[in-house]
Symmetry: C2
Subunit: 251 residues, 2 copies
């Protein structure tokens, strides 16, 4: 097995998978390691829904905007903030739970997300590839129906998991200094912004991306095509409604 820093530094998100299953044994090994991840007050207020059934994947496909990994990956894992199990335990033990509020949702979301990231690293260390599906928070209201999630449970992210069909080019990252701050936040001057994004903006893949989208600058691809204000507002409203409907907005 490769050294952990090699795995972390050389990772790529994998969107193309071999037609080869991930055994229950490997999945079990990954998940058993992942549940050792830190969790608030050792409450483990998360659940992981494993999707292997192809009919279920077809139901989830449009909810993830028809990204083909959803049906091509042998395994999907939907990570949920889950206070349902813990609340039931409280009620069965003469304790009055008070976890139907936004702080509790966010606490449970943290639990779910950091477990998800441990799953990614354990999977990559096992030779598997992963891809996060950000669509989970956009379409949470529909995913809740398909996965039959009760009150107290909200999906926060999904991973596709499988054996990589080829190794794509590694994408760029900002220089480390761009994302860290020492002691206090040093806000970015215009010059800082120019410097931080300079390399990214000069990359052939960035220039191609601008051209393909008929835009003038790289940020315009994000603001006008990929992550548009009107979509963000629409999905913000839906997500806040999900939190209310799932019983997390009683504060």
């Amino acid at each position: 097995m490769k050294e952990i820093f090699d795995i972390l530094l050389n990772r790529r998100t994998i969107r193309n998978y071999l037609e080869k299953d991930v055994s229950d044994e490997i999945l079990h090994r990954i998940l058993s390691a992942a549940i050792r991840t830190s969790t608030t007050g050792n409450m483990q207020v998360y659940s992981i829904i494993i999707t292997r059934d192809s009919e279920k994947k077809k139901e989830l496909l449009p909810l993830h905007f028809n990204q083909k990994m959803v049906i091509e990956a042998p395994v999907l894992l939907t990570f949920c903030a889950d206070f349902n199990r813990f609340t039931k335990w409280c009620r069965q033990r003469k304790a009055e739970p008070g976890y139907d509020n936004f702080l509790s949702f966010f606490t449970a979301a943290i639990d779910a997300l950091i477990v998800a990231q441990t799953v990614c690293i354990a999977a990559e260390a096992s030779g598997l590839g992963i891809c996060y599906l950000g669509t989970t928070t956009y379409m949470a209201h529909k995913i809740i129906e398909v996965l039959n999630l009760p009150k107290g449970v909200v999906p926060v992210t999904t991973l596709t998991l499988g054996w990589p069909a080829g190794i794509p080019e590694q994408v760029d990252r900002l220089p480390l200094e761009a994302v860290i701050h020492h002691e206090t936040y040093r806000d970015y001057s215009s010059d800082d912004i120019d410097k931080i994004y300079h390399e990214k903006e000069q990359r052939p893949d960035s220039l191609k991306f601008i051209r393909e989208n008929n835009k003038e600058t790289l940020p315009q691809v994000f603001t006008d095509v990929r992550y548009r204000r009107e979509d963000n507002i629409h999905f913000s409203k839906l997500l806040l409604k999900v939190l209310k409907d799932q019983g997390f907005m009683n504060q």
Copy 2:
């Protein structure tokens, strides 16, 4: 270096640290690996604030409810959802950003949290110990002042980082089957709850915990002492106000 599954399976949260610094070199190596973590649309909408200064730690101490790791650990890392940098870049490139809404906050929080978990694993693989401080979301409004966080930036979690002073007992976890579901969520019956929590409830440390808190059942320690409804409601209101004040509630 140990095999990654050994690291994950044998980890413990570390709350006691040696009086020994973490070198810039080691920290740089960990953070350089961590920024390879998946990020929404490769936007990297997070920032990491590094605290080493003892005066700064003293300011943060009460905001983390006087947990002594805050001053005893050589390094604190505050992970923030950050759309400030990206928004500034958009504005400087004739693009109109639309990231002042709840979905964008949650997207940035996911980015920040999964980077934090990669930092944990890279740190533990380097022989360091970590502890998550859940108080970050409780006291975000004050942490924002101390760390000078501008609009568009919200702290979502904090890690203490240092060399372990001794290895504590490993705490329990629920059986894996308690937190996973196959294809759809199978809601828990009373019997399921009894079974899932049985081992935890019989543990000597749990029984001691109940006794020390003068309670009758283990969940009562959570509902009446550790994570009380009135506190959750209070901190929910504060956190939602932080999201509004930091400019993330325009939907």
